[in-house]
Amino acid sequence: MSIKQNFSTDALPDFRNLGVIARVLLGVNAFTFASALVVEPTWSRTLERFTHAAVLVEPMLLVTLVVLYAASPLLARLRYWVGCTAVAGLALAVSGALHVAVAGPELEPGGLARTLFLVAFVVAALLAYLRLLARAYSPALAEARLQALQSRIRPHFLFNSLNAVLSLVRRDPRRAERALEDLADLFRVLMQDTRSFVRLADEIELLERYAAIEQLRLGERLEIAWELDAAPLDALLPPMVLQPLLENAVYHGVESGTGPGRVVVHIARHGARVLARIENPYYEEHARRAGNRMAQDNIRERLQLFFDAEARLAARSEGGRYVVEVEMPYRPAQA
């Protein structure tokens, strides 16, 4: 079931996240430049001072980031304040060691104590900034959840499905039972807290339940090809990322056509990335329906909240097919 990864309490930043790394790099360099600006009276000397400081600052920064990147899984298990102390400890140790190693006759960085004090200050400032940022994002997450709910339950789907189940009650009561069970499962997930990651296996199960209901309604008009052999079942992803895309594919690619339509669901792992691709027939005359774009924007937004810059959603039409691709980092669930 869903993995606890609560965004509402403070958590250490993910040091493997591109966004976090970029913010740390920018923050430290901006701080260095600003301090050079304060002490030097002209631009050229400011630049000179900055370059001089960079000789020491950049190695400290980069090595610290590499160490944090490596230690990230371990750090993530610590409680927030213990984790912060550990991060500060690592940064101080790296900086202290480099200070001693680099300090030579031609480079006089000043006293070790001053360096360590500055590093501690910068680390504290950055951690506070990242914490504020995470907190600023949590209302956005709550809102995203709401938006997600609104955008993905297509009332059209609900009422037509209920109607289809009603038509089965007398003719095939067992199938009607199964269909209602599928609907119940689907809505349980729809109404769940969407702020936590889910396992890909669960998302795939959801896709299959959804497909079973659509199959009931559309019969032989809907053909779904599942290409899941290389799907990493233990990968974590935000909930309800793939189902709305499949729903769009069925709605625009199959329901809009008078003949049978083939939908392809392809999920595979490529190294450290998970790629999901959903394809459906493309009808140009229906392309102007706006619902599609809205669902995609919503998913893109949520991917960004969960993975920052590391996930991607792209859609294109080629040769009468409409293709949506989602690419995200592979994060296996801890067993």
């Binding site: 059209h156 609900l158 009422f159 037509n160 209920l162 038509s167 089965l168 009931l216 056509g257």
Partner: protein, 253 residues
């Protein structure tokens, strides 16, 4: 009393099954006979005229052609059926039905509601074309002509020009001609995006305009003609429309 002849048009097989079940449930108080079924709008237009249907249960969201457009083409039939629209959820359509006093049912349909709607529709007769036109969101994708109790559909994008002549409007495609009974002014308003007026009595598909040429002098005032894609016929441009036509030709160049 002979049973009411009902035709069902819905793209989902289970939805049609459900309506048939309900019709048999209410048979004691309202006897009905199934006049026919269709699983999309085009099929409904093909099958309905010969079916003798008195009431059409018409799903509004169907592939190919939606229910509202189907109803508009049926309005050309001499003894068209009464129409009850059926929708799962379409807030805009429901508002439009209310506003224009058109009969509709919500899916899942209840037996009692179905009986009421059928009775009311059968008594009220075929819907008025103006009400259907007002309820429709956008322009039709087809124009239709009734020829010997058959509805002939012409896709709007295949039309080269529409020209008013006395009582009728001639509709010209690359392959043929039809006569419409709709006023040119209404067509111009509905399909403003597709057509440009070149003359008081003539609308030409923007996409079919290839250029303009000087008319050969035949004693009359010199004027310009529109050169069309796919047909040899030339159409005169009136002085009043010349600016609009020239702008279009320039845009395309």
């Amino acid at each position: 009393m002979s049973p009411l002849r009902v035709f069902i048009a819905d793209d989902e097989a289970p939805a049609r099954e459900r309506l048939k079940e309900l019709l048999s449930d209410i048979a004691a108080e309202l006897p009905t006979a199934l006049a026919g079924e269709a699983q999309n709008g085009i099929e409904a237009l093909e099958r309905l005229p010969a079916s003798g249907a008195q009431v059409l249960l018409l799903d509004i969201q169907m592939p190919g052609m939606g229910g509202l457009e189907v109803a508009r083409h049926l309005a050309g039939l001499e003894a068209g059926p009464a129409v009850v629209f059926v929708t799962a959820h379409d807030r805009h359509a429901v508002e439009a039905f209310e506003l224009n006093a058109l009969d509709y049912l919500m899916k899942p349909v209840r037996a009692t509601r179905l009986a009421d709607a059928l009775r009311k529709a059968a008594a009220g007769g075929a819907p008025q074309p103006q009400r259907l036109a007002q309820a429709a969101k956008g322009p039709r994708e087809y124009l239709s002509v009734v020829e010997r109790n058959r509805i002939v559909l012409v896709p709007v994008r295949e039309i080269v020009y529409l020209r008013a002549e006395l009582k009728y409007v001639t509709l010209r495609t690359r392959s043929g001609e039809h006569l419409l009974e709709e006023p040119l002014v209404a067509l111009e308003a509905e399909f403003a995006e597709h057509f440009v007026r070149v003359h008081r009595n003539c609308l030409v598909a923007r996409a079919a305009v290839r250029g303009v040429e000087r008319a050969a002098d035949g004693g009359e005032e010199p004027h310009w003609n529109v050169v069309l894609d796919g047909i040899a016929e030339r159409l005169p441009v009136s002085r009043r429309q010349w600016a609009a036509v020239r702008a279009l030709v320039k845009d395309q160049a």
